[in-house]
């Protein structure tokens, strides 16, 4: 039969396209990485950078290595983690508006991380772990409060806003109105931060990639998934836990960055479609790229002053969120 000839070529071409898109984005991100290392208040040339890193000591390159390099690496890791977190939350809750910042997970994580940092400084290096606990607690609270027989997409946002506000209020009450002093965005990130983050980044990203195929099944009705032998509730729980872990650990190191986790998955779906096997790696790369781009732009655009990446993300993300609300779009219309 005609219809059967070349079966399999369509999926393969899709995989190929997805792979090509990922490779291209990886290349762009690498380019941005180098650019971010080179640019800033301490100016170094490509040659200096290369020789300083690999050949001989150069005090200016050493300063870049100690100050700028870890910041750039943290931005890449945290960006990837936040984007994947948003993607997984959107899949688990079947809610295109889900974002760990908006629904209050990041707020809970940041609050517990700050709490531990302030009262148990000896536990400083387990900050991401405590943030994870805080994140899980707020997630369970939000889930519980938003549950009315089923999860209402808008209700979960409203509850999340309330939880976020409460956490922000508590932080302000404890640490002063400014913001909490222990978490200050991407500025002054050190190699210690990279070490702290990388364990969670590696675990979380690996888990995300392994779970990616199963995330596709969450786009079906729960009944349909169960009919295929998939325990949909368990799968949703695991996917949510990975999302909360990724967001909490990133938040423990760089504080609350809103909207990245919302925007990156939507952009990624535009580029590579809704198949999580391709969407997940693409989304990880896109998150890394966007956060590093925002941070680098923020460093350069008004030098010597800096615009925090989180501020840039809010400026771009706010209107984006409004557009999504207006469209009321859903994943997988029936």
């Amino acid at each position: 039969m005609n219809s059967h000839s070349g079966r399999g070529s369509a999926p393969w071409s899709r995989v190929w396209r997805g792979g090509a898109a990922c490779a291209l984005l990886a290349l762009l991100t690498s380019g941005l990485f180098l650019l971010a290392l080179k640019s800033g208040s301490i100016a170094v040339s490509w040659g200096e950078l290369w020789r300083g890193l690999f050949v001989e000591y150069n005090p200016r390159v050493a300063a870049v290595y100690d100050l700028r390099f870890p910041r750039v690496v943290v931005a890449l890791l945290a960006g990837a983690m936040l984007a994947a977190s948003g993607l997984f939350l959107q899949a688990a809750l079947r809610n295109p508006l889900a974002d760990p910042g908006i629904i209050g997970i990041a707020g809970g994580a940041a609050f517990t991380a700050a709490l531990v940092g302030a009262f148990f400084p000896m536990l400083y290096f387990s900050k991401p772990l405590f943030a994870f606990i805080g994140g899980i607690l707020s997630f369970l609270l939000i889930y519980r409060l938003a549950w009315k027989g089923s999860l209402d997409p808008v209700r979960i946002i409203l509850v999340g806003v309330a939880v976020s506000a409460t956490c922000a209020g508590l932080s302000a009450a404890l640490f002063g109105a400014g913001a909490n002093p222990l978490i200050s965005g991407l500025v002054q990130r050190s190699w210690g931060d990279v070490r702290q983050l990388s364990l969670y980044a590696a675990t979380g990203i690996l888990a995300a990639l392994l779970l990616a195929p199963a995330c596709n099944y969450l786009a079906l009705e729960d009944r349909t998934a169960r009919g295929l032998g998939i325990n949909a509730d368990l799968l949703r729980g695991v996917v949510s836990a990975v999302a909360v872990m990724l967001a909490s650990a990133a938040t423990a190191i760089i504080g609350v960055v809103g909207f990245l986790a919302l925007i990156a998955p939507h952009m990624a779906r535009r580029f590579v479609g809704s198949d999580h096997r391709i969407l997940t790696p693409f989304c990880l790369l896109l998150g890394a790229f966007v956060l590093l781009a925002a941070d680098t732009l923020g460093r350069l655009v008004a030098a010597p002053a800096e615009i925090p990446a989180s501020v840039l993300m809010n400026v771009v993300g706010g209107p984006f969120f409004i557009i999504l609300l207006q469209r009321g779009e859903r994943i997988g219309r029936s």
């Binding site: 039969m1 219809s3 059967h4 079966r7 369509a10 999926p11 596709n216 099944y217 786009a219 079906l220 009705e221 009944r223 349909t224 169960r226 009919g227 295929l228 032998g229 998939i230 325990n231 479609g273 809704s274 198949d275 994943i331 997988g332 219309r333 029936s334």
Partner: protein, 258 residues
Amino acid sequence: MAGHKLTVENLSFSYAGAAPVLRNVSFTLRPGGVTTLLGANACGKTTLLLLMSKNLKPNGGRVLLDGRDIATIRLKDFARQAAVVHQKNTAPDDLSVERLVAYGRIPYSSLFRGRKAEDGERVAWAMEATGIADIARQTMGALSGGQRQRAFIAMALAQDTKLLFLDEPTTFLDMRYQVETLRLIRELNVKHGLTILMVLHDINQALMYSDEVIGLKDGMVLAQGPPAAVVTEDAILALYGVRLPVRGEGGRMWVLPV
């Protein structure tokens, strides 16, 4: 015909804090036959189907598959023995028909086992049997209502089960697709030996396409048997609360639902 004797035993169910939906329901599905559940809205048809497919747990009684309580059967093993086409189906718009149908092979997959040739063959067969082989590459978003329904039936067929449950398979379809879907269901039963249980709203469709009908009223079985014996003017009055003329000619029966 082993492998698909389904018995419902004294099944009772109520949603938390609400009045009972099912009360002491018992019946045995005719192996190798097409059975249709009839009843007014909210009489418990869909709930019954959910209980029979491990989507809900009964408050009392049990469902037996070849003598074994389905509560003790793992979800994955159950998915190799019974497939369900639900009334409401969701899939991403950019998912290809072929990929959706291939989801039907999930019950046979495991982390350590790749795709087998058998999976591909079964998927191809399911698409052939439902007449969607020529649209295998299209995406779900591009399909008509009838094609969508066929794709989900094909997914259930790919599960390679002896039992097939369908919840109102014709409800959202226009006349032509309704007839096509019902003919397909009959064909699956006759040609491929599937034991089928479906929920229908249309009595005439039930009369035409079933070997047996079960009338459900207020969560209880009112009647079970061959359609000609069960579908009478009195039974319709009892089931739906309205008196309708039942006519017959040349061995065929119909109800005038006006």
